[in-house]
Symmetry: C2
Subunit: 246 residues, 2 copies
Amino acid sequence: MFNETAWLTVPQAIRARRSIRHYLPDPIPTEQLTELLDLTLEAPSSWNVQARSVVVVSGQEGRDGLAWATGGQPHPQEAPVTLVFVASSQAWREDLSDIYGTARENGAWNDQFIAGFSQASLDFHQDLEERELLREYAIKDAVIAATYAMITAASMGLATSPMNGWDEGKVKKVIGIEDRDDLHIAMLLPVGRAAEERRHPGRRPLPQNAFDGRYGYGFTPGLTASPASTASATASSAHPDTAAAR
Amino acid sequence: MFNETAWLTVPQAIRARRSIRHYLPDPIPTEQLTELLDLTLEAPSSWNVQARSVVVVSGQEGRDGLAWATGGQPHPQEAPVTLVFVASSQAWREDLSDIYGTARENGAWNDQFIAGFSQASLDFHQDLEERELLREYAIKDAVIAATYAMITAASMGLATSPMNGWDEGKVKKVIGIEDRDDLHIAMLLPVGRAAEERRHPGRRPLPQNAFDGRYGYGFTPGLTASPASTASATASSAHPDTAAAR
């Protein structure tokens, strides 16, 4: 493990991160990559089913494949590693006894909790299946893990670029799951040393995307955050139409 | 802004975070909540459209509403604040000139880049629309922001619990968007001071969810990470069936 006190704090990492399209060819040291993957898979997941995984693509063949799958974009070709985040929409049906066993050994869950929890998890997923939301919920878990990877990499001084621009069937072929209807691609994340500097394109002002109690009522620092305050609009909040129309 | 050097590093925050169901009633100081929201909305989004927002629910009426929408679960009732992450699947159609203007002012994007970028964004989203993926992609952006909030809160010593167990229609009603088909609920995140301790239930061993080049080939530290290495299986990698069957 690295000297963690030398890593960036969370706000430092968040403010330092930019989406980088050009990378130096320097490989990522194995110890650092392992720590990155380990922290990535610390990400929480729905019912702790861990229905998401990460494929480390670093060889020439894999990088050529991802270049093909992303329409020739530079970052998966240049970056020494691209992480492919895979979501499994059927993992909840599988044998999860190892997950429950680990939680029991860790003193986190007891037998009674596991009995109720495992049944509730089944019921929850069957309901998702009826509502055709299994893919969406698995993708959400994979995106949480991808975001862990993004922030962890930034904390280590490594650049990344979250990518949505790819052909799902081609990416699946590159990592060998073209015949798996139960597996879905959530995100690609090239990782490496930046070969360019990027300025922050900026974000909209806080009250346009942070709201106070009701959608469209711009959050104004100083008027909320106490349980005693009401969640409904106040005279000082922006009129809903102002922000909601953006 | 807080003294950021006092905040946890990224690995410290990730390892400290547990999903917490019981909260002290202590309000979150406004300055801290504002910083949390600001860092949350630093999250990257597809084409920087920022098609995700967060509704801060803290009043009694809103908390009662979320208790109703989550089937009476304790955390949204007890936590002083619950963040509701909203995804907008139609934001890409709206006027984004303020976003482009900010990026131009920041020296991040020039006019030529903006012209190509804005057209490519339209093409990308029209393709998503044809493939009925607009909701999924907006949800992904909202989940990235929710994960930023989770890790930032942990770094501040605040507890959270990412929640998927809610009725989407009821949550939309609580935040006043029951008539908006273009807005979707991605996640609920109660935030506050923990009133319980939780042990780590654990995660599966790394090679079961981190793979080397191809899905199912367990990642083994020391055998990968160099561009010169091949992405295909080696004799030392786990047989794909071993991990893929889990």
